[in-house]
Each structure stands twice: as C-alpha cells, then as structure tokens.
C-alpha cells in the first residue's frame, strides 16, 4: 500500500509535470494576448471566442492538475462508485465543445455500444477525459489532415471497456504514449509525434487515472487511433 501511494505521489507531484503544465499554459495565454491585440488592430470580433475558449482550457488544465494532486495526497480513499461511461463521455464532449469549435475539430460522440456501469470515480474520470481531449483537440489540426474529427467512444478491448478519444491520426499509438512517459521528465516535447506542446493534458490524465487505480492506453477503434482509459465493468450491476 505504501509503495502504491508513493508511486501515485511521484507521478502527479513530479516537478517535471509541473514544468510541463507551465509550458502548456503558455499556449492559451499567448493565444489570448495575440487575439486581444488583433481585435485592437482590426476590430476582429472572433478574438472574443479565442479568449473565452482559451481561458476555459487553461482553467480546466489547472483544475484537473489540482484534482490529481488531491487524489494523490488526501489520506482518505477516493470514492469508487458505479459510473455510466456514456454519460461521462457526453459531459466531456459538452465541456470540450467550445475548444473543438475554435480548432475546427468535429467532435463525434459514439456511445452506441451497450456498456453497463463501470467502477470508477466519476469526477476523476471526467477530469481525465477532458484533460486528454483538450490536448488532442489542440494537437490534431497540426497533423495537416483534411478532416479533423475526434470521436469520443467506448469499446471493448482485451483489457476491458475502454473510453477515450479517437482520430485518424496514426501517431496516437502505444509507441508514442510509452515514449512520452519515458521522456516527459527530460523533454520539452515528449509526445513529439502527437503534439507540438508539452502534452501536459495527456500526462495529467495519466496521473489522475493512475491515482484512482486505472490506466491510460493507446487503442484502436474501428479504423481510428486513440488514447483512452481502461475501465472495469461493474458485473453485479449488470445482473440487475
């Protein structure tokens, strides 16, 4: 138990993760500053949308990081509960919609499969998915694809039920994720094949899930590539 707790703390309390978050926060702040200047130069009203969505994404990153810290540090055990994956994905899609609109990314919600409830902490799972989604929404247009779609979906894999974000971007692979985990303590751009930033959102999601005993993995869904949380079905509830 002591070792598990130490591992949790190491992941979220790492100074390098804090550095990555600081680097990641530069991006929305630079966008806000430049959008504000542009609106003064040519009365461009689209700057207001940039400022609103960028502010929201920066605040969410901070909130999610703080949640990760609390989950790791609080003495009491986190509440595990019966969680509907579909409703968490729906809420995450709502939270990500303004940023997706700003980045011209089509968000698709694919919750067609019949999945019963899973064992998780709803707030933490939601925070992890929003954190992951924010990073991917900003990263995907940089891949020069004609279509920029991000699908929020659940599917069954050999690990269990996976809830995550999927796109046509092949670079969303386990190689990229593993390399990122190895490099995030030493590199300014650990997910170099995925993101031009520090990828802090992905690592915050990773840490939050780790704190509640879950795992972030790369997986394929239909013909899409993505990253998602492995969840454990609540079998007792499925019998009801």
């Amino acid at each position: 138990m002591g070792r598990l707790r130490q591992e949790k703390e190491t992941a979220i309390l790492s100074q390098q993760l804090l550095v990555n978050i600081a680097e990641e926060l530069k991006m929305p702040l630079i966008r806000i500053a430049r959008a504000n200047e542009l609106s003064m130069i040519n009365d461009d009203t689209s700057g207001q949308q940039v400022i609103k969505a960028s502010t929201e994404s920066a605040l969410k990153l901070i909130d999610n990081y703080i949640l990760g810290i609390r989950l790791a540090l609080e003495d009491k055990t986190f509440n595990i509960e019966s969680v509907s994956v579909s409703s968490v994905l729906y809420d995450a899609a709502v939270d990500l919609s303004s940023l997706a609109k700003l980045y011209n990314v089509d968000l698709e919600l694919n919750i067609a499969g019949k999945f019963g409830p899973v064992i998780a902490n709803r707030q933490a799972l939601h925070a992890a998915l929003v954190s992951l989604g924010t990073s991917l929404i900003e990263a995907i247009p940089a891949h020069d694809k004609v279509q920029t779609k991000l699908q929020l979906a659940t599917h069954r894999s050999r690990y269990g039920v996976v809830a995550g974000m999927y796109a046509e971007t092949k670079q969303l692979s386990s190689t990229s994720l593993q390399m990122g985990r190895r490099l995030y303590k030493s590199s300014r751009q650990p997910l170099v094949n995925v993101s031009y930033g520090s990828g802090a959102g992905v690592f915050v999601a990773d840490s939050i899930l780790h704190s509640i005993g879950l795992k972030l993995i790369a997986s394929r869904h239909h013909n899409l590539y993505g990253i998602g949380a492995v969840l454990h079905p609540l079998n007792q509830m499925q019998l009801v």
Binding site: E23, R31, N42, D44, L102, D144, R188, V192, N193, G197
Partner: protein
C-alpha cells in the same frame, strides 16, 4: 511579398494570417515541416516565419532541409517561437552563421506590433499595388 508562416497551432496561425493580410502581405500557413517544404515550392517565399516546436519533424530539421536547397539559401528566416533563446546559447553561432537565421523572437515577449516591425525591417513594406 509572400510570407510562409510555419505554425502548428491553428488559432495562432489564423491570427498571424489575418494580421499579415491586414498589412498587405500575402501569407500562407503550413503546420508541419513537410507541408512547409511543399508550400515553399509553390509560393517561393520572401520570408519564412517559423515556430521550432512542430509535430514529428522539428523546426531545426526543417531549417537544415530548407537551407540545403540553393534557391532558398538566402531567404530570410524569422524564428517566432515559445522556446526561449537561452536554450540555444551553446548553438547560437551555428544558427546564425550556418543556418543564417535573420531574427529570433520569443512569443512570450514579442507582440504582433513588434513582429510586424521586424518583418518590415527584413523585407520591407508591401507595395501599394499589393496592398490594394
């Protein structure tokens, strides 16, 4: 006057595009090193504005590739990046003399007004004809 902007962030690249067009420059966006080389082939840029942190191939890799073509060996390159210049303190001479960087600006302390000033300093103002 044609400017090639290599910026992976969609929102920032849109802002630069609008700013430069407003000033009368022709500008084109590329989000990756490969698409930047393709774009350079088409527009024959008078200036390249480059963010160093790109997906897959870095801005530095782009610079070496770009400079390897004789036709682009003298095109001014303005680095406009979130990477602080202190990270290149050991290799500054290489950037300046070998890759021939014209200017290194950090996004955190360079606003659009200063960016425009630097662009005008490097390639001049667009002609009235282009402005119309």
């Amino acid at each position: 006057m044609d400017i090639l902007i290599i910026e992976p962030d969609k929102v920032l690249s849109d802002i630069y595009l609008k700013t430069l067009k407003c000033e009368g420059y022709n500008a084109r966006i590329a989000r990756s090193a490969q698409s930047a080389l393709d774009a350079a082939d088409h527009i024959k840029p008078d200036l390249v504005i480059l963010e160093l942190q790109l997906v897959e191939h870095s801005g530095i890799e782009f610079l070496y590739e770009f400079r390897s073509y004789a036709e682009w060996s003298n095109v001014p390159i303005l680095i406009y990046t979130s990477v602080p210049p202190t990270e290149f303190s050991d290799s500054w001479q290489i950037l300046k003399n070998e890759i021939k960087i014209s200017k290194y600006l950090c996004k955190t302390d360079t606003d659009l007004k200063r960016l425009l000033g630097e662009i005008k300093g490097l390639i001049g103002r667009p002609s009235e004809k282009a402005h119309r």
